[in-house]
């Protein structure tokens, strides 16, 4: 088994596990993103829907594994892409089918809304300042590269293939050397701004604070990854280190998010089924919230029915385009 095949099978296993977990990664109040009566998951129609879903996803995982093994020898990069895409596409298709079947069991729309009348709980917590600390990492890396400029080779790798071998190189120029660090610092700032937008543009719930904590942790993660990538011209860092840190971070975030989302004691936003499309797209022009809690997974999604959401989205896309331009 070559490394591309191993990496592809690992990706199939990871994506497949996420797909199997997907219907469980939500509040007990929802099943396949449909509002269901209390205890519905344990009922016969609920269990039958989950059984059908799992059975189809397992078959999709097995089929994906066969396909990637078949193409990994000749097209290793394509194998990795297929390894992530095939189980995800099959899982989403099965999810939407079950969602459609479950609509007949949907609970009546919740009408009761509760709100805190204290204004102070709307203030940003002080620990948000900790998110500024990792911004020092790319700065320190840039200072290190500048101090060791003479040690940087005339050409250095900037991209690696599925087999772990470099497949793209860059010449030693200030733009090529500092580009990843600038991009990383920009991404960290974008993430921080996104966290602030979610905090002020969503309802006051405990999940809002939990998401903010995860975003602060993500700023640290991005700081580490982009600082590592930025140091590659001068320091040899094994690819495995990047993969290990990424997998560890992803696993920790998923585990923490799963614990919060599936906790029956956690309050759930009373959004109505009729405004959710494909289980994950929310569009309600009557709802002044810009961000709402996802029904599947952990975190927030944008309310496409709010004009402010489109402005934010445009700002986000413009910011990302600017960053990509800087990185080039």
């Amino acid at each position: 088994m070559n490394s591309a095949m191993f990496l592809s099978l690992l990706a199939v296993a990871f994506t497949g596990a996420l797909m199997l977990l997907m219907p469980h990664f939500s509040s007990p109040r929802y099943l396949f993103a449909v509002t269901v009566p209390a205890g519905f998951r344990a009922s016969e129609p609920g269990r039958a829907a989950l059984r059908r879903y799992h059975w189809w996803v397992v078959r999709a995982i097995a089929g994906s594994a066969v396909v990637v093994v078949g193409v990994a020898q000749s097209w290793p990069d394509l194998a990795v892409v297929l390894a992530m895409l095939l189980p995800a596409i099959a899982g989403m298709a099965t999810f939407l089918r079950e969602r459609s079947l479950l609509r007949g069991y949907a609970a009546p729309p919740p009408g009761v809304r509760e709100a805190d009348l204290a204004p102070e709980s709307g203030h940003l917590p002080r620990w948000i300042a900790l998110a500024l600390v990792p911004l020092a990492l790319p700065l320190a890396a840039a200072a290190y590269l500048r101090a060791h400029w003479s040690e940087i080779p005339a050409r250095f790798p900037v991209h690696w293939g599925a087999a772990g071998e470099p497949n793209r190189w860059a010449d030693k120029t200030p733009a090529a050397v500092y580009g990843p660090l600038e991009f990383g610092a920009g991404m960290m700032l974008v993430l921080l701004l996104l966290g602030l937008a979610i905090f002020y543009g969503s309802r006051r719930t405990p999940q809002r604070i939990a998401v903010l904590k995860i975003l602060v942790a993500s700023v640290y993660f991005l700081g580490l990854i982009f600082t590592g990538v930025g140091l590659v011209p001068a320091v040899k860092i094994p690819l495995a280190a990047f993969i290990a840190v990424t997998l560890l971070f992803a696993a920790a975030v998923i585990a923490w998010g799963y614990k919060i989302v599936t906790d029956p004691a956690q309050p759930v936003e009373a959004t109505l089924d009729q405004y959710w499309y494909l289980g994950s797209i929310y569009c309600n022009p009557q709802d002044p919230a810009i961000f709402v809690q996802k029904r599947i997974g952990f975190g927030y999604t944008i309310n496409f029915g709010n004009r402010m959401s489109w402005l934010l989205l445009a700002g986000f896309v413009a910011g990302m385009a600017g960053l990509i331009r800087v990185a080039r």
Binding site: P109, G111, R113, A115, D116, R203, E269, A289
Partner: protein, 130 residues
Amino acid sequence: MPPPAKIRIDLNSAVPAYRQIVDAVRVLLVEGALPPGSELPSVRRLAMDLGVHFNTVGEAYRELAAEGWLDLRHGRGATVIARGLPAAAPERLQEFRTRLRSLVAQMRAEGVPPARIAAELRSLTESLKS
């Protein structure tokens, strides 16, 4: 430390949302849960938390301000102010009597004994400080 004051509305109710907000906040004001000087969330924040239009909360705040409970300053949200007790006009007393009569009749029609209704009314009246 007392728990933070909360309001609850039912969007499926026949009573308009702005009326439910006015009634719920007024109960807290009369009971003293929101003493003078308390700041209420901004219109934008409360509308977002309740999932209703900004105008719904704005209308509720304006009505409470017209009753003398709130001071609304542009950009500074709503602040509870000290309010003197006005003398209820005879026609308003008659209106309240009609509403109470209708409510008591509904309670009786649904099987609540008269003694229980009297006890509930007494308990509610005693819990109001002003």
